[in-house]
């Protein structure tokens, strides 16, 4: 296949003449190198433009959020200016004011509802995902179809009876009502997503473990769960994002005691006008936990949002 003359000659020449390349290498070749370098440079120049554009777009999308965070550190008079104020002395006054006016409780409520509902989702969802993947039940497809179809049901279609029922059993303005609903809201996504992780586990591992004398429970605990734990963590983070950000149930079913952070923001648009800096501080506090959760889970975000269909 190869030309026998060429490789040997170059192999013999290269080490000897490397010191004086300029003199030995014939002209056309130098030309060629230059042309290639020029092309490379041009290519890199175009690449730089695209990279710069990507950065501009990224910053553009992020800018409103950045602005919100900046405003949160302003005094109220610096928040309303035309042109907008860029340079200012940061202050924590707004955060203190916001937390002093009772937002702390709503943040705690949100944290509690999010944590408990996510724990419930995992407790119900992990066994279910297992039963729909590694040791599948009959009619697995139908069950999956059912779970996903509940996500297709607009929430407004059930809010009225939910309100009536929750009211009747005296659970209005009770955080546990939200926990139950958030669990139901996230369970289908979690099951689909975790199933997609379970499916990546070779089924022989379960068989190998059972041959090695492990019971099913031991095999799952010792062999399967350690393998899917990154997937479970990503699923949990996605549940955290959805339940923390939830507004519709919270605004309809809670009032004072069980109010969550997003609902507490409503208080800033009613009443005696807007306080931008304070509003921004409250928004920042409300948004921060999920933004961080989302940044951590970003590689698995697509998988959660597409119900595990896209890896």
């Amino acid at each position: 296949m190869s030309d026998p003359a060429r490789p040997t000659s170059t192999a013999a020449e290269t080490p000897r003449k490397s010191a004086s390349t300029e003199a030995v290498v014939p002209r056309p070749s130098t030309e060629n190198v230059h042309r290639r370098r020029r092309a490379h440079r041009k290519h890199r120049g175009v690449g730089m433009i695209w990279s710069a554009l990507a950065w501009i777009v990224g910053l553009g999308f992020f800018f409103p959020v950045l602005w919100m965070v900046l405003t949160a550190f302003k005094h109220e008079r610096e928040a309303y200016t035309d042109p907008p104020t860029l340079l200012f002395t940061p202050t924590l006054d707004q955060f203190q004011a916001v937390l002093g006016s009772g937002m702390g409780l709503t943040l705690l409520n949100s944290a509690f509802a999010t944590a408990v509902s996510t724990a419930c989702v995992l407790a119900l969802g992990i066994p279910a995902a297992f039963a729909l993947s590694l040791r599948p039940v009959k009619r697995t497809q139908d069950v999956l179809f059912f779970f996903i179809s509940t996500k297709m049901l607009p929430i407004v279609a059930v809010i009225i009876p939910l309100y009536v029922i929750v009211n009747e059993i005296g659970m209005l303005d009770n955080i546990w009502a939200l926990i139950v609903l958030y669990t139901a809201m996230n369970l289908p996504i979690a099951i689909w997503m975790m199933r997609s992780f379970f499916l990546e586990v070779p089924p022989e591992l379960l068989e190998a473990a059972s041959m090695d004398g492990a019971s099913l429970a031991t095999a799952v605990r010792r062999v399967i769960l350690p393998l899917v734990s990154p997937g479970i963590a990503a699923t949990a983070l996605i549940c955290v994002i959805f339940s923390w950000n939830e507004f519709f149930f919270a605004v309809n079913l809670t009032a004072v005691r069980a109010q969550t952070a997003p609902v507490s923001l409503v208080g800033f648009i009613t009443g005696e006008g807007l306080f931008w800096a304070r509003l921004s501080a409250a928004s920042t506090l409300a948004a921060l936990p999920v933004v961080i959760a989302g940044w951590i889970a970003q590689n698995k975000l697509v998988r959660g949002l597409s119900f595990g269909a896209i890896k």
């Binding site: 990279s51 297709m152 407004v156 989302g294 970003q298 697509v302 597409s306």
Partner: protein, 300 residues
């Protein structure tokens, strides 16, 4: 034979066991209330007039269809969803293409881009209503001032478009993520083969990349539509559906009728109508999901 079948029945229950809690829980929390919604939609029931409750058959549906506000709201909902989804998909494709190259700080840029999707929707809506769209102090007018457009009252003059702008800002990252996943799952050897066959970058994109992305874009559009049907916080925070019902969508309108108008029967009927309409999109979504899902299984 009987012995064998009892064994397999026991095995069947052992397999079903772990599934049942989740299944029963989901049925109870999602299906039972919907059955009630169906039932309420046949009642004339206003909470303000206790004791007025009676069965009126399908008359609520008749009232709802005669309600010109409902029709306007339904149209708003379609515009809001279709507009947001389509514009987000186009922008998302563009951003995904930008982010599909390797460059310094790509991870950071991606993190920045997805942030609008993560931020609490209510906070995002407030941010747009105030810091972005305020007629006097807002950033949008500040930027547009040199163009002589500096005094538009965005939220009151263009309420629906303002809500949509907020939603597009929020959903473009979602589309971008899906499309980027598609771009990254594109086998490079196909592109290389195309290049060897003499195709330029534009031809490559049109003939190879776009067909490969189609599935991902479709999925993004359909999933986006399903998530967007539940849009509530943005309308609630930015416009309260106003002026009139000019910027109200179905969730907000139903909420208004039920919790501010206390008309349970009609609100329930609207809910049922929303579900029926959603089923149309959902069937499509499910088919796509299952197709994508099985396709990726085969590939694995």
């Amino acid at each position: 034979m009987t012995k064998q079948s009892t064994i397999s029945r026991a095995e069947g229950w052992r397999r079903r066991g772990p599934l049942l809690p989740a299944l029963i829980f989901t049925i109870v929390v999602t299906q039972v209330p919907f059955a009630f919604t169906l039932y309420y939609s046949t009642q004339s029931w206003n909470l303000v007039r206790p004791g007025s409750r009676e069965f009126i058959g399908l008359r609520n549906y008749l009232y709802v269809f005669r309600d010109s506000q409902f029709r306007e709201v339904a149209l708003n909902t379609v515009i809001l969803i279709a507009g947001t989804v389509l514009i987000s998909a186009v922008l998302g494709l563009a951003v995904a293409l930008l982010l599909n190259r390797t460059f310094r700080g790509r991870g950071v840029v991606r993190t920045l881009v997805i942030t609008p999707f993560l931020i609490t929707p209510v906070a995002g809506a407030l941010l747009w209503k105030t810091a972005m769209f305020d007629p006097v102090f807002g950033l949008v007018n500040f930027v547009l001032q040199p163009l002589g457009l500096g005094d538009v009252e965005w939220v009151s003059q263009f309420p629906l478009a303002s809500v949509m702008a907020n939603l597009i800002w929020r959903w473009t990252p979602f589309m971008m993520l899906l499309i980027l996943a598609g771009l990254q799952s594109m086998p490079t050897d196909v592109l290389e083969a195309g290049r060897v066959d003499g195709a330029g970058p534009i031809t490559l994109f049109r003939e190879l990349t776009l067909p490969h992305l189609r599935r991902f874009i479709e999925l993004g559009v359909v999933l986006g539509a399903i998530y967007l049907i539940n849009t509530f916080g943005a309308v609630y925070m930015m416009t309260q559906g106003g002026p009139g019902v000019e910027s109200a969508n179905l969730p907000f309108y139903i909420y208004q009728r039920a919790f501010l108008g206390f008309d349970i029967g009609q609100a329930a009927a609207m809910g049922v109508i929303t579900v029926v309409a959603t089923i149309l999109i959902s069937t499509l979504a499910l088919r796509l999901l299952f197709k994508t899902f099985t396709a990726t299984r085969e590939a694995a």
